[in-house]
């Protein structure tokens, strides 16, 4: 698999006052192969959406490099960047809101081709029809306005708009979160079909682990602006090497009512991203934390092929079951209680 995208040390800070900033994305690096899907997982506030926007330079990254198809897009001028947009596209979370209410489906789908300026009017029309078929719709929807579409159809148009120029990379930002479960599955099928046919690379940003597992070849997990673990999908779902990954996956409810619930649920919530310190971001909620974790952000350790994690206790984690982790958490709280009393 040849490399299409390499992100190195990507950082995005949003200043909020003279000496405070939100560290939305904090030095993350990963690569994406041609025809590959990388799932980018994290909870709200983890920086996954900002990452997606930075990669397409819809938001200007603060630092870091983004090599797309051999070109560092962080150094491109506006005009050159606009020309590159037909090769890297974005699909949005809100299917209806991301379509211009005053444009028909046909106008929406054709516009990227007009901007690209490479096809004749007839070719554009053919491409639009071809794309509609690709996303599972037919030409009857061409004359419709967004208000006349269901959210499932609208999201298919959103995908179609991103794919009409046959881009090499599509960033999908929570494309399924606004959809009901029955239509969500259908959209994932559409995406997989497209990848098989066109060889498009996807960066699939989502907090929906079910969807991520279904569509991704590899999964990267983000927490508080940091990438904490990245691994091939099945390997990650079988064996997590970062306590946060473990916590995230164990919190997912099985649909089978008889399946036992995983006892390991971390307490508390994601902390504030204002002026992040150089330490392990998960420290405040981690059952395995030690003093050492506060010294600096732990570097990445390889725990398998293509499997990296940013935890110094990963081997310790591997030896513990979720029940033990949950018990350890309880002991810790009890221990603190005794300490407080003394």
């Amino acid at each position: 698999m040849s490399e299409l995208l390499r992100v190195t040390d990507l950082t995005k800070r949003f200043p909020i006052s003279k000496d405070a900033f939100v560290g939305a994305v904090n030095g993350i690096s990963f690569e994406l192969g041609a025809g590959e899907t990388l799932g980018l997982v994290g909870e709200s506030g983890s920086g996954k959406t900002t990452t997606g926007r930075c990669i397409l330079r819809i938001i200007e990254p603060t630092s870091g490099s983004i090599i797309f198809d051999g070109v560092d897009i962080t150094t491109q001028g506006d005009e050159a960047l606009r020309r590159m947009r037909s090769k890297m596209q974005l699909v949005f979370q809100e299917p209806l809101a991301s379509l211009n209410p005053r444009r028909t489906v046909s106008a929406t789908l054709e516009e990227p081709l007009v901007l690209e300026g490479e096809l004749s009017k007839r070719e554009r029309r053919e491409r639009v029809l071809e794309t509609l078929k690709l996303v599972g719709l037919d030409s009857t929807s061409l004359g419709l306005y967004p208000a006349q579409l269901t959210s499932s159809e609208a999201q298919r148009i959103g995908v179609g708009r991103a794919l009409v120029t046959r881009p090499k990379l599509v960033v999908l930002d929570e494309p399924t979160s606004a959809l009901d479960s029955t239509v969500r599955a259908a959209l994932l099928d559409v995406l997989q079909g497209i990848q098989a046919e066109l060889g498009t690379s996807f960066l699939f940003i989502s907090h929906d682990l079910t969807a991520v597992r279904r569509i991704s070849h590899r999964v990267a997990i983000m927490y508080l602006g940091r990438l904490v673990e990245i691994a091939p999908t099945e390997e990650l779902f079988a064996q997590q090497s970062h306590p946060y990954s473990r916590a995230l996956l164990s919190a997912v409810l099985p649909v089978d009512p008889r399946a036992p619930l995983d006892p390991f649920v971390v307490e508390g919530e994601i902390p504030s991203a204002v002026n992040p310190k150089d330490e392990c971001p998960f420290y405040s909620r981690c059952p395995l934390r030690t003093e050492e974790c506060l010294e600096h952000f732990p570097g990445y350790v390889d725990v398998g092929e293509n499997h990296r994690t940013a935890c110094i206790h990963s081997s310790d984690l591997a030896s513990k079951s979720n029940t033990e982790l949950a018990a350890g958490r309880a002991n810790r709280s009890a221990g603190l209680g005794v300490l407080g009393g003394a």
């Binding site: 020309r83 947009r85 979370q93 006349q148 079910t210 649909v255």
Partner: protein, 640 residues
């Protein structure tokens, strides 16, 4: 919008209606009586603008000293002026001058204003713009400030006085003074639209900044501009007349309302009122008509006209204060119910009959109705006013909840589950009608309950947890104060200490470790999970017997979601309160509810023990829902 989307059949309905009736007729139907009068008046004014001078019965610019200042009569309806000209004829003819000048001038301001407004907004916008372009926009805005700081009228006078009183100059002057109005309007509209996802989408596909502004955002700013156009034309007419009145505008003998009033005003003192009063009345009517017509169009664009499409518009504006969780007291939409027939027959059997794919279905166990029954919904049918007659938001829904039951209702967007919750809480929007059926809580029917008793019921007997916890807490009030207000709502005469300790205890109960600090905080200082805990604590203040939770974990992160659900389950075990959890997530129901129901297109298509339904779903839609999530299970997703 999200809630509005949940109302079934809205969009389809609108399309169908629009195909049947002509647009103009449909618009006419949406107008109130007063608005119809204004519309007719508008039509007359515009017609007179075109044909006024041609239908004038007398010459309009020919002086005739013999007929000087004649009283109104059948010969001269409005009398004659100092030059012996027929005032009625001149009034008819004057529309062409006044309205035409105003319309042309306003059109110029609209076109230039839109172009400049978009330009400024796009220079100003935060999307990848340098400091230079923002400085340029800033400078342009300051120039506008200076123009607008001048009194408009004097400014126009000076313009006309220095450049002469030709009609071109008058048009130019009026266009110029109105220009800032449209620049500012379009700029602010476009700035707002810049944050819409479709603006970002336009950028992502490679549109240039200005193309986004002119091709994508400007068309969406048009509704606001249209409203302003009519108002501005009215104002421009007044300005034209004003300029002419002081002699800086159209000069006699051209028939023009302002000049006519000026000419006639000096005779008022000598008793000849008609030369000034008749043009004055028509000027007032014209300006008034344009102003109100603008508002009418605005109402059609933003409200009524769209309502056909967004059937449940009222749902979105559901006042958070009206929920028992925040202890608000609001008017209750409580439509008198039709007499309920066959109350004792649960209609699940009827619904099951529809399913032909499952020959060996058995009649499921249902909760038993007894004296202890907490909530009973019987054959409830609810419809929205604007929807198609045959589409129901709720269609004969029956439900029984006994003490200690944990009941889950699942359904997709538009299945009617939110309408069910709001029906039970009696907080349906104004446009919802309870067609038939009844809801009773602990044996007493809600429909014939006095508003006062209903308020006691909500909060004390049943309480609700609604989605989006942060939006439900008044941002200006501390948590402690919100809780105290809610507590005192139903328990009067508690002293300060008692209230404090009760609130503390309530927060501790939901797992908040430092209640003292939380009580002093404002809602915005809380995280989503913490805010949801506070909302749960609020709902539990009066130890309700039934807790209704509508999507209690939507918008919360997975790890927090589990914490909240575990908390709810624990509370139910400890306090023995019944719970009704409404969600679109089957997994929540699978683990946290003993009974479950499936809603589809306003109907409760299946109801029974959770395990039984998961093992043996009988309705096609239940199977469809299960299949959608089990496809993922097959891949082992949940066995991590």
């Amino acid at each position: 919008m999200l809630d509005a989307d949940q109302i079934p059949s809205g969009e389809d309905g609108a399309i169908e209606i629009s195909n049947r009736t002509p647009l103009l007729l449909r618009l006419w139907g949406l107008l109130s009586g007063f608005e119809r009068i204004i519309t007719v008046s508008m039509f007359v004014i515009l017609t007179l603008t075109v044909i006024g001078p041609w239908i004038a019965p007398k010459p309009t610019e020919k002086a005739n000293p013999r007929w000087r200042l004649l009283h109104p009569s059948w010969e001269h309806y409005f009398g004659t002026d100092a030059n012996g000209m027929d005032i009625f004829s001149r009034v008819l003819a004057s529309f062409r001058v006044d309205v035409a000048i105003a319309v042309i001038a306003t059109s110029i301001s609209v076109i230039l204003g839109s172009l400049i407004g978009v330009l400024i907004a796009q220079l100003e916008g935060t999307r990848s713009n340098g400091r230079g372009s923002r400085g340029l926009a800033e400078a342009a805005l300051r120039i506008l400030d200076v123009i607008q700081a001048f009194p408009v009228f004097i400014f126009a006078m000076v313009l006309v006085a220095t450049r002469g009183t030709s009609s071109v100059n008058i048009v130019a002057a009026i266009a110029f003074v109105n220009l800032p109005v449209f620049i500012r309007l379009v700029r602010s509209e476009v700035l707002t639209l810049q944050s819409r996802p479709y603006a970002e989408a336009a950028q992502a596909i490679g549109n240039s900044n200005f193309r986004i502004g002119y091709r994508h955002l400007l068309p969406n700013a048009v509704p606001a501009v249209i409203v302003q156009i009519s108002v501005t034309i009215g104002f421009a007419i007044l300005l034209t007349a004003g300029l002419s009145f002081v002699g800086a505008g159209v000069s006699p003998p051209t028939p023009e309302l302002g000049a006519m009033i000026a000419g006639g005003s000096r005779f008022l003192v000598t008793g000849q009122w008609w030369p000034a009063v008749f043009p004055g009345i028509f000027l007032a009517i014209t300006v008034f008509t344009f102003a109100i017509f603008g508002e009418t169009i605005g109402r059609l664009i933003t409200g009524g006209f769209a309502a056909g499409r967004v059937t449940g518009g009222g749902m979105a504006s559901l006042d958070p204060q009206s929920s028992p969780a925040t202890g608000g007291v609001t008017a209750v939409t409580n439509t008198p119910n039709a007499p309920v027939a066959a109350l004792s027959v649960p209609n699940h059997a009827l619904e099951l009959r529809e399913d032909h794919h499952h020959p060996d279905r058995q009649v499921r166990e249902h909760p038993k109705i007894s004296d202890m029954t907490l909530l009973r919904v019987a054959n409830l049918t609810v419809q929205f006013d604007s929807a198609e007659p045959d589409s129901l938001a709720l269609d004969r829904v029956s439900l029984v909840i006994n003490p200690g039951d944990r009941v889950g209702i699942v359904g997709e967007t538009g299945s009617g589950k939110s309408v069910l919750v709001r029906s039970i809480l009696q907080i349906l929007p104004e446009n919802a009608q309870v067609v038939s059926g009844d809801i009773s809580v602990m044996g007493s029917s809600l429909s014939d309950m006095a508003p006062k008793d209903l308020r006691t019921l909500r909060g004390k007997t049943m309480a609700a947890i609604l989605p989006n916890p942060k939006a439900q807490l008044n941002p200006l009030v501390r948590i402690g104060s919100i809780m105290a207000t809610t507590l005192r709502l139903h328990e009067k005469g508690l002293n300060k200490e008692a209230v404090q300790s009760r609130c503390r205890a309530a927060l501790e109960q939901v797992g908040i470790s430092d209640p003292e600090r939380r009580l002093r905080q404002y809602p915005h200082e809380l995280s989503g999970g913490m805010a949801q805990r506070v909302c749960i604590a609020l709902a539990l203040l009066h130890s309700p017997k039934l807790l209704i939770a509508d999507e209690p974990t939507s918008g919360l992160d997975v790890t927090v979601q589990r914490q909240v659900l575990d908390l709810l389950a624990e509370l139910s075990d400890v306090q023995g309160a019944a719970q009704l959890i409404v969600t679109r997530d089957l997994a929540i129901v699978a683990h946290y509810c003993t009974w479950m129901g499936v809603m589809h297109q306003g109907r409760l298509v299946e109801f029974g023990r959770t395990l039984e339904i998961f093992d043996d779903p009988s309705h096609a839609h239940t199977r469809e829902l299960l299949a959608a999530v089990q496809a993922d299970v097959a891949r082992g997703v949940h066995n991590v």
